[in-house]
Symmetry: C2
Subunit: 343 residues, 2 copies
DNA sequence: TATGCAAATGCAATCGTTTTCAATCAGAAA
DNA sequence: TTTCTGATTGAAAACGATTGCATTTGCATA
């Protein structure tokens, strides 16, 4: 099909001037006689002229586009992150190119390679849980293409990072359960080797240690997806055994809701028989009955801060030192963990 | 910062050949002597050469990028759509540029304008509920930039569309309630002038008419967001009045859950005292207690089909006639509407 | 009328590719 | 040795914009 763009050439021809003059007139350069300038601008508007983005990018070596590499889009956390990114990018006139890896390392690899061809000015990335090698990101460093990691990061690559303190958050969640009087605590987690998940476990353990509570290996469980079904699965039978937990820290809200379902099915009262806290602050947790206590994972803030950092780096013409921004999470105590008799 | 790309010029200089030869060698053109070809390819690999995307786009007049204009990202439906889009686009080597309008018409306008500068080969768009003028899309038609609307569409613009049959779906949902024995039906909807919402209402009314049930204006309500809070709000007091409904069709799952909360709070049994059905098939509906009956809105399919259509149009060099694809929705009957005593 | 100066405009290079067309080269045939 | 042929290679235009520099123009002054 004949997709024809209006170019400055067309305008120039139409008015019998050179393309340089048109270019200058359109950028409001005072070197051009006002009369010509106005005529050109008028015609440009009439012809609905839009400067060709590709030509501009090539000429100026800037695309005003940032890439976003994420494992998933259908995920409340990432959706929040995207919103944060969009808000900052939009205000600074940047566009966002999304590449979702669908939790596949191979796809992440291909996407990362693909984006290294000068089509983006910088990259925001969150690695998949399958990712264990990082050469594809090293190339960004080598080429000095600004790169900011967020959420799931790696120490292997020396670049800017924006994360939450998962250990501290895990600690906070667990200590909250302990303060509510829980003595026998369970941890239901996501993928064992996912660093965020691991940190949450470390926080859990740290809290137990601090309060001199025993750590029961049997009560520490890991899944692979962190989803609802898995929560059901992992906690199946958990409440029918002899020494059942009276407090559960689930590393995601969806896991937590799965656990709550089983607890309710086992005839336990939440939070009195068992207190439960999740992680993420998804909308569902507030609506579910009982409402689920949780840790706010600050997706929107992460997106905003990571993007601001990336754009700063893109616009900077000096060497900038790398920094890791740790965002403070907050505890949201709801019905699933607050024992009214306490305190 | 000195972001230096490796170009064919560098390779040419290094090997003392012309850039034409390098270009040909890299595209495996047999015109180039095998020996030279191999040397060039080897060096290119060593230097980690990636062809400059921008230059390629300019030269070939194709960006292998499609634009996506949506009201929101943080929305299970749109997230599903994006996943469908990504899957198809990825397989055909296309990238996706996301522009979210955040439900603001002004932002939609600016984004649509912005994307008209040749940076995308085609556009997928879903209009906001604020959108009532469409000149910004007409420009796409004029320029022959392929455009596919999905979900929220307008008849004003003659282009490809991918939608579900909201009227039929609304009819199906309502008839299901009637089959379960409901006699007094309520409709809780989203924005009154949003066409999808309006169609769902028409379907509701059609079902009432078919089954000779009375339509109670008082029981037809509209909100603005379609969210949970609004569901709570709109249905507040609904179950305390004299003639309370024994069946509610909510135009979104979140509205439906709000309604369920109020029904439960009023001491009603779901589904026996009041049967409830939502719309969208969001994950929460399956988990909530009781689980929410709903209509599957087929976000993933919509994304896939719309993208396939767009790419077909982009790749076609002939005039193609416009078509509207209507995707069949399905009823998902769960606990909130199935009266076991029935049938 | 010639000169000078400032204002206005145009030329051409550039960004990194691809591709058409022309040029070069080697070896075979004359 | 010349000429021809096919195989290689290179030069240059093109994509659509910006911009440094050179050129043209108009007008006032000498």
């Amino acid at each position: 099909m004949n997709r024809e763009q209006v170019t400055i050439k067309h305008i120039a021809k139409e008015l019998g001037v050179s393309i340089s003059t048109v270019s200058r007139a359109l950028s409001n350069n005072p070197l051009v006689k006002q009369q010509t300038r106005e005529a050109i601008q008028k015609l440009a508007k009439e012809m609905n002229y839009h400067p060709n983005f590709t030509a501009l990018s090539l000429r100026q070596g800037k695309t005003r586009t940032i890439g976003l590499l994420i494992p998933q889009v259908v995920h409340e956390f990432f959706a929040q992150v995207i919103r944060g990114i969009e808000d900052v990018a939009y205000n600074q006139g940047y566009n966002v190119l999304i590449s979702s890896s669908n939790e596949s390392f191979e796809r992440e690899l291909r996407n990362a390679e693909e984006l290294l061809n000068g089509r983006i000015d910088g990259l925001l990335a969150c690695i998949t849980k399958e990712t264990h090698t990082f050469e594809h990101f090293e190339e960004y460093i080598n080429r000095q293409v600004p790169l900011v990691f967020f959420d799931c990061v790696t120490d292997t690559i020396n670049t800017d990072k924006v994360v939450i303190d998962d250990l501290d958050a895990g600690f906070m969640a667990t200590e909250h359960l302990i303060e509510q009087g829980c003595k026998t605590l369970a941890f239901i987690g996501g993928p064992k080797d996912l660093n965020t998940n691991h940190e949450r476990l470390l926080g859990f353990q740290k809290a137990l240690k601090k309060h001199n509570l025993e750590e029961t290996p049997r009560l520490i469980m890991h899944g692979t997806s962190g989803k609802y079904d898995e929560g059901l699965d992992l906690s199946k039978g958990l409440f029918n055994q002899e020494k059942k937990p009276d407090g559960v820290f689930a590393a995601t809200d969806m896991l937590g809701i799965g656990v709550m379902k089983n607890a309710k099915a086992a005839g336990l009262k939440i939070p009195d028989d068992v207190a439960i806290i999740g992680f993420s602050n998804w909308e569902i947790g507030e609506i579910f009955e009982p409402s689920l206590s949780t840790i706010d994972q600050k997706g929107y803030d992460i997106g905003k801060i990571a993007t601001a950092r990336l754009l700063e780096r893109i616009d900077s013409d000096q060497e900038m030192s790398m920094m890791t921004e740790v965002i403070k999470t907050t505890l949201i105590a709801r019905a699933s963990s607050q024992r009214k008799t306490q305190k």
